[in-house]
Symmetry: C2
Subunit: 126 residues, 2 copies
């Protein structure tokens, strides 16, 4: 049996080809992509591919995988995405059903200024 972590690694391998139709081969027919921050929900593998294809990019997207782990049916990844001009971080929660990705709930946390008044308790992260 393919583990959730293996399926997620394959997802990012396929995303890195920038062939988003290829990615749909590991998404279930009833795949749903949820973006809670913008309250957007994309239904279906075909729409997932189209949103990715239409997103403005300066060059092919590259992905740096910081971490992937999971249980039997769920996995999470922490990935940096860049087209060489824009850079963002994606935290992606995957749900697996019948060895396909059934649901992806994704967060895109942005940099923010360190809150004031706690420098005495905090170091600067490399």
């Amino acid at each position: 049996m393919t583990t959730a972590t293996e399926i997620v690694n394959e997802f990012w391998r396929l995303m890195a080809t920038n062939d988003f139709d290829a990615v749909t081969t590991i998404l279930s027919d009833d795949f749903v992509w949820e973006l809670p921050q913008s309250k957007e929900l994309v239904r279906g593998a075909k729409n997932f591919a189209q949103v990715n294809r239409e997103y403005p990019a300066n060059a092919p997207w590259q992905f740096e995988i910081h971490r992937v782990f999971g249980s039997d049916t769920e996995a999470v990844s922490d990935v940096t995405v860049t087209d060489g001009v824009q850079t963002a971080r994606a935290i992606s929660f995957f749900t697996i059903k019948n060895e396909k990705i059934n649901r992806l709930r994704e967060f895109w946390p942005e940099p923010y200024a360190a809150p004031p008044g706690r420098a005495h308790l905090v170091e600067v992260m490399e």
Copy 2:
């Protein structure tokens, strides 16, 4: 053996008491808290408790756990945090060592406006 998921559930149970010294009982001596968005690193369980204690709050913090899962040594949670006035979402990656939390890498994704031009592919998430 206590699983990573059980330890993380205990972490959130203790956080909900708002007794941050109690939380330190399940953190390792060399505990590190990383906040990549603000590039802050807090070293040590005592400093973790102090940052939490000093953070401006209108009322005791309450936590709604949306999801927790993990492998043997890692777990992730998706939690909404509120004091009744401020509300935020925390995505927390925990590393476990000797049944204590050794490292917490935490992201705080903020709401953003849905990107234009893709309404034909997107539904509004409940």
